[in-house]
C-alpha cells in the first residue's frame, strides 16, 4: 500500500492495484467523479472557472467513456431546468457553474430543493459581479445558501472527487440536492495528485439511481402544482399538506443530513480508505487555544499558519468547515470547547452584517453556551491572494485585541489596500 501526500501534508493510502493516481486539476477531478458516478444526463454551459468540467465531460461522452445525454444548453437557468426535467423523469443528473451562472439559476435552485430532487452540482467558487471578476471568492455559493441545498466545501482536489461521489449518495438518500463547492482557480485550475478509484470500486459504493417512476401514463400525476397556505382535501377527502408542511419536511431532511453526511463519509472511508472529515475536519485542534476557521482551500492554508503560530508558542489549530449547509452548529461548538479564541476567515460577506461563517459560528457558540471569543476577517475577495503569513498575522492581531480587552470590529479586512 503506497501513501499519497498532498501539499497540505495530508496523506492517504492508495491501493495501486485497483485505482490510479492522476495529477489533475480540480475541474478534472469533478469530471472524473461525474463519470464514475455514471451520470445519465449532463447539462453543460460554460463559465470561468468551471468550463473545464463540462469540457472534460464532453470529451468523455464523445469518446464513449461515459454513456450520458450531453445537453449544451443556452444558459445556466436552462442548465438547471434540464436537470429538473431529467431528474423528475428518473435520471441521475449533473451540472456545474460559478458566480453569475449560479445566480442566474437562483430560482431553479429553490425549485430543485423544494421538489426534493437529488441533483448534484459543482460550484467552482468565483466572485460575484459587479464589478466583473472571474477570480476566486465564496460569495457565489454563500449568496445561495438559503434555498435548501446541502453545501459541502472542498479543501483540495482529492476532496473534490471524493465529495462528489459522496454527494450522489447523500442526495439520493435524503432526496435533497447537493452543491459541491471548490475554490475557482486555486483548486479548479491547479494540478494535484488525485487517487481516481476504479469503476468497480465506485459501483460498489454508489448503486444506480433507484428513481421513482413519476411519469406514468397509467397513473398520471400533476407534479409541483400550485399549493395554498392551508391544508386542502384531495379527491378522496384526505387532508393534504399546505405549503408550510412541505417546507418543514425539507428542513427536517436537512436536519437528517447532519447525521447522513457523517455516515456517508464513514462508509466512504471504509470503501476507499479516505475520509473528508464529515461535517468538519480539524488540525491540531485538540489542545488549541486559538482556532482558525475557514471553508475550502483557505482552511488548508490555515494549517500552515497554525504551524507557524505554534512555533511562536501560540497553541493554534484549524477547524475546517466542510458542511456549511446544514450548518453543524453543535459540532462547531463542541470542537471549540477548549478554545479561548476563534478567528474566522470568510471569503465572502453577507453584506450589511459580516462574514457568513463568522456570523454562523458566533450564533452556534451562543446557542451552545460556548465561551470562546469570536473574531471575523474578510479576505480574498475577487481572487486577492491570502497566504499563511497574513493568516497568522491576523491571529496575532486578534490576540493583541484580546490582551488589551479591546472589542474588535465586527468586520476586519485582511490585506485591504485602500
Amino acid at each position: 500500500m503506497s501513501m499519497a501526500r498532498l501539499p497540505s501534508g495530508r496523506t492517504f493510502p492508495v491501493a495501486v492495484n485497483t485505482s490510479s493516481v492522476a495529477v489533475i486539476t480540480g475541474n478534472k477531478a469533478a469530471a472524473e467523479a461525474a463519470r464514475l458516478a455514471r451520470v445519465e444526463v449532463i447539462a453543460a454551459y460554460p463559465i470561468t472557472p468551471q468550463s473545464g468540467v463540462v469540457e472534460a465531460l464532453a470529451s468523455y461522452v464523445e469518446a464513449g467513456m461515459l454513456d450520458a445525454e450531453f445537453i449544451t444548453v443556452e444558459s445556466e437557468h436552462s442548465a438547471m431546468s434540464v436537470c429538473i426535467g431529467s431528474s423528475i423523469a428518473g435520471s441521475r443528473v449533473f451540472t456545474a457553474t460559478s458566480a453569475n451562472g449560479l445566480a442566474y439559476m437562483s430560482e431553479q435552485l429553490s425549485w430543485v430543493a423544494g421538489s426534493r430532487l437529488p441533483v448534484v452540482m459543482g460550484c467552482a467558487n468565483r466572485a460575484m459581479s459587479a464589478p466583473w471578476n472571474v477570480l476566486n471568492d465564496q460569495q457565489d455559493s454563500m449568496s445561495q445558501r438559503d434555498h435548501g441545498w446541502i453545501q459541502l466545501y472542498c479543501r483540495d482536489n482529492q476532496e473534490i472527487l471524493d465529495t462528489f461521489l459522496q454527494a450522489f449518495r447523500l442526495a439520493e438518500t435524503l432526496s435533497l440536492p447537493v452543491m459541491v463547492c471548490y475554490d475557482g482557480f486555486i483548486l479548479s485550475h491547479t494540478v494535484m495528485p488525485v487517487d481516481v478509484p476504479s469503476q468497480e470500486q465506485v459501483d460498489s459504493f454508489l448503486p444506480p439511481l433507484a428513481a421513482q417512476t413519476i411519469l406514468d401514463i397509467a397513473d398520471p400525476r400533476n407534479i409541483n402544482p400550485v399549493t395554498l397556505a392551508n391544508p386542502r382535501k384531495n379527491g378522496n377527502s384526505v387532508l393534504c399538506h399546505g405549503y408550510m408542511e412541505f417546507r418543514y419536511l425539507m428542513q427536517q431532511a436537512l436536519d437528517k443530513a447532519l447525521t447522513a453526511i457523517v455516515d456517508v463519509d464513514k462508509e466512504y472511508e471504509e470503501h476507499f480508505g479516505r475520509s473528508c472529515g464529515g461535517l468538519t475536519w480539524s488540525y491540531a485542534l485538540e489542545d488549541a487555544e486559538v482556532a482558525l476557521i475557514a471553508a475550502g482551500s483557505l482552511a488548508n492554508e490555515a494549517t500552515v499558519a497554525a504551524d507557524a503560530l505554534r512555533e511562536e508558542g501560540i497553541a493554534a489549530g484549524v477547524l475546517g468547515i466542510r458542511s456549511y449547509r446544514p450548518f453543524p452548529d453543535a459540532r462547531v461548538a463542541q470542537e471549540l470547547k477548549q478554545a479561548r479564541l476563534a478567528v474566522v476567515f470568510d471569503k465572502s460577506l453577507t453584506y450589511g452584517y459580516g462574514g457568513p461563517i463568522y456570523v454562523d459560528v458566533q450564533a452556534a457558540l451562543y446557542r451552545h453556551k460556548g465561551t470562546a471569543e469570536v473574531h471575523g476577517y474578510i479576505g480574498g475577495l475577487g481572487g486577492r491572494d491570502i497566504n499563511a503569513h497574513q493568516l497568522s498575522g491576523a491571529v496575532q492581531e486578534s490576540l493583541s485585541w484580546m490582551k488589551q480587552e479591546q472589542a474588535p470590529k465586527p468586520i476586519n479586512w485582511l490585506n485591504l489596500q485602500l
Binding site: 398520471p220 400525476r221 400533476n222 407534479i223 409541483n224 386542502r232 382535501k233 384531495n234 379527491g235 377527502s237
Partner: protein, 98 residues
C-alpha cells in the same frame, strides 16, 4: 403531486347565471336518432356534454358559458336564467366533488 379528480375547483355549476337547456325536438342527432352534428360536444370547454343521442349536460359542473347554445346549428340549446331553476343553497368548501 396531485392525482386527477373531477371537480377540482369545486361545484363549478355554482358559477352559472344561465343554464343550457337542450330541446330534443330541435336537436339534429335526436331527430335522426344517431350520432350526428355533436357541435355542442366538440366545443364545450369543460367536457360536461356527452357525445350521445341526444347530448346531455352535466349541470353539476356546467359553468353556463353558453358556447353550446351559440354553436348549435339548429338553435336546440337555449340559455335560461339560472334563478328560474332555483339557486342552489348548498355551499361546498374547496374540496373535490368526486
Amino acid at each position: 403531486m396531485s392525482w386527477p379528480c373531477v371537480g377540482e375547483a369545486g361545484r363549478t355549476g355554482d358559477w352559472r347565471i344561465g343554464r343550457p337547456v337542450l330541446d330534443p325536438e330541435k336537436c339534429i342527432a335526436a331527430k335522426k336518432n344517431r350520432i350526428l352534428c355533436m357541435q355542442c360536444w366538440v366545443f364545450c370547454p369543460d367536457n360536461v356534454i356527452t357525445r350521445t343521442v341526444p347530448p346531455t349536460i352535466d349541470l353539476e359542473y356546467c359553468k353556463g358559458c353558453g358556447i353550446c347554445a351559440a354553436v348549435c346549428p339548429s338553435q336546440a340549446i337555449e340559455m335560461h336564467p339560472e334563478h328560474e331553476h332555483g339557486a342552489s343553497t348548498e355551499r361546498e368548501d374547496l374540496s373535490c366533488g368526486c
